[in-house]
């Protein structure tokens, strides 16, 4: 295998601005998505993920403009997730320059959405995003949640991933609600389980606190690692993560 493992920073955006601080030095405007995207691209980010946390429809149109401005100036793949409810939403985001679209709760509410998107645009554009929590109530021991982990759907995470892949999901973004925010490392058991049972690439998310947290996620079977605050705070750089992965015998770009 010569394919490099991917390191992906994730930025929260609302109304076309990056929310939550990103602490790069010498930044003219810490909320400008184009400037931040360019910085991460220069640092060697393999892809960028934007999570649209916009609350209103008006704000969402600003997000489309933002995607377009980033796509026109930063030439690495862009994934946009958050609030995607229909194939039309996907068409509009792709038309503005997104390469992949993250779908989460709307697919849980209506799984046929996954097939509608994959049939029209191909499986490779569709990233199924799962917020997963440990649970005694499902066979795999992991349950899919919504609303940032506050609501358990009762769906077995493994079953849902299988169903979504069958319907056409091209990639899994597996976010551990248990690990998220702890800075204690990725949920390796969850990562390994998802990897073993899926044919599509798995992105591990949630829990990264230091450089040392990244290699075990890849060792557990992740094809890519995604993190937000650990990069934004400047605690860890993309280059440091890649150096650690390379030292662990992984291929990096």
């Amino acid at each position: 295998m010569t394919l490099a493992v991917r390191v992906i920073p994730c930025l929260d955006v609302a109304a076309g601005r990056v929310v939550k601080g990103v602490n790069f030095q010498n930044l003219r405007d810490a909320g400008d998505p184009v400037e931040l995207a360019a910085r991460y691209s220069d640092q060697g980010a393999d892809e960028l993920t934007f999570l649209d946390v916009t609350a209103t429809v008006d704000d969402r149109s600003t997000t489309y403009d933002m995607v377009q401005r980033v796509a026109e100036q930063v030439f690495i793949p862009l994934t946009v997730g958050g609030g995607v409810r229909s194939a039309e939403d996907v068409a509009r985001l792709l038309g503005h320059g997104a390469d992949k679209i993250g779908v989460n709760s709307a697919a849980i509410a209506r799984p046929a959405l996954v097939a509608e998107i994959a049939d029209r645009f191909g499986a490779q554009v569709l990233v199924l995003s799962l917020d997963v929590k440990r649970s005694g109530c499902t066979e795999s021991g992991f349950v899919v949640t919504t609303h940032g982990g506050r609501t358990e759907t009762g769906l077995d995470a493994l079953e849902w991933a299988r169903t979504a892949i069958e319907l056409g999901a091209g990639e899994l973004l597996v976010n551990s609600i248990d690990a998220d925010g702890t800075k204690q490392g990725f949920d390796l058991e969850l990562t390994a389980l998802m990897h073993e049972h899926s044919r599509v690439p798995v992105i591990a998310s949630g829990g990264a606190g230091s450089v040392a947290d990244f290699p075990p996620a890849i060792a557990a079977g992740a094809d890519a690692v995604l993190a937000a605050s650990v990069f934004h705070n400047g605690e860890v750089t993309i280059a440091e993560v890649k150096a650690a992965l390379a030292a662990d015998g992984r291929i990096v770009r």
Binding site: F75, I76, L94, H96, G97, A123, R199, D223, A224, R253
Partner: protein, 205 residues
């Protein structure tokens, strides 16, 4: 010139070409597409959907017409795949443009789609990869041409084949006279991709 036939996003590809030094026009206009110094045919999604969309703007005739006149065309991703005779995706067998013999089929890899940055093995005579032979490029696809079946005799130039590997070898790029194509996305491959586009632009008359 970028052929706009409704497949995927053409604007970031247009910006990448501008970044590489081109004056870019995005169009579905037949005369303009036939006359341009170079024509880029992007492609995202299913082989059949891309062919349907291409035929709807008579893109097949545009590509044929340009090649008949020796005018350069660059296919990207599914825009490369449709240059072959057929594409088979999940049991759906679709006729392609047939500029090259062969069938585009699923890669024999444990993890699909093939998604991410991979190395390529360019032909020594490649113009597209000049100076970027050891760079990585961004791939996102499950299907590819896994064999080259066209024998080219002099006086026609030897096709330059660039191979990559995911589960098995497949064609990452082809340079065959005026017709070139890449399976990866140069417009998403950062500096190396921009350089490749600039190399292609440099081959235009």
């Amino acid at each position: 010139m970028l052929l706009d036939y409704g497949s995927g996003n053409v604007h970031s590809a247009a910006k990448a070409l501008e970044h590489a030094g081109a004056e870019v026009q995005v169009t579905a206009d037949r005369a303009a597409a036939l006359e341009a110094d170079g024509l880029v045919v992007p492609g995202v999604g299913a082989f059949k959907a891309v062919m349907d969309q291409l035929r709807a703007v008579r893109g097949d005739g545009i590509v044929d017409g340009r090649l008949a006149g020796g005018r350069p065309v660059l296919g990207i991703c599914v825009g490369m795949q449709v240059l072959f005779e057929r594409g088979v995706e999940r049991g759906v067998d679709t006729e392609g443009l047939g500029e090259w013999p062969g069938t585009v089929t699923e890669l024999p890899a444990p993890v699909l789609p093939h998604m991410g940055w991979n190395t390529v093995a360019p032909d020594e005579g490649s113009a597209l990869f000049a100076g970027i032979e050891h760079e990585r490029f961004y791939f996102v696809h499950s299907f590819a041409a896994q064999a080259w079946q066209l024998d080219v005799m002099p006086p026609f130039p030897t096709p330059r084949l660039t191979w990559a590997e995911h589960g098995g070898p497949f064609l990452a790029a082809v340079e065959n006279g005026p017709l070139s194509a890449t399976q990866f996305h140069p417009e998403k491959s950062s500096d190396a991709g921009i350089r490749l586009l600039a190399n292609w632009l440099a081959t235009l008359g």
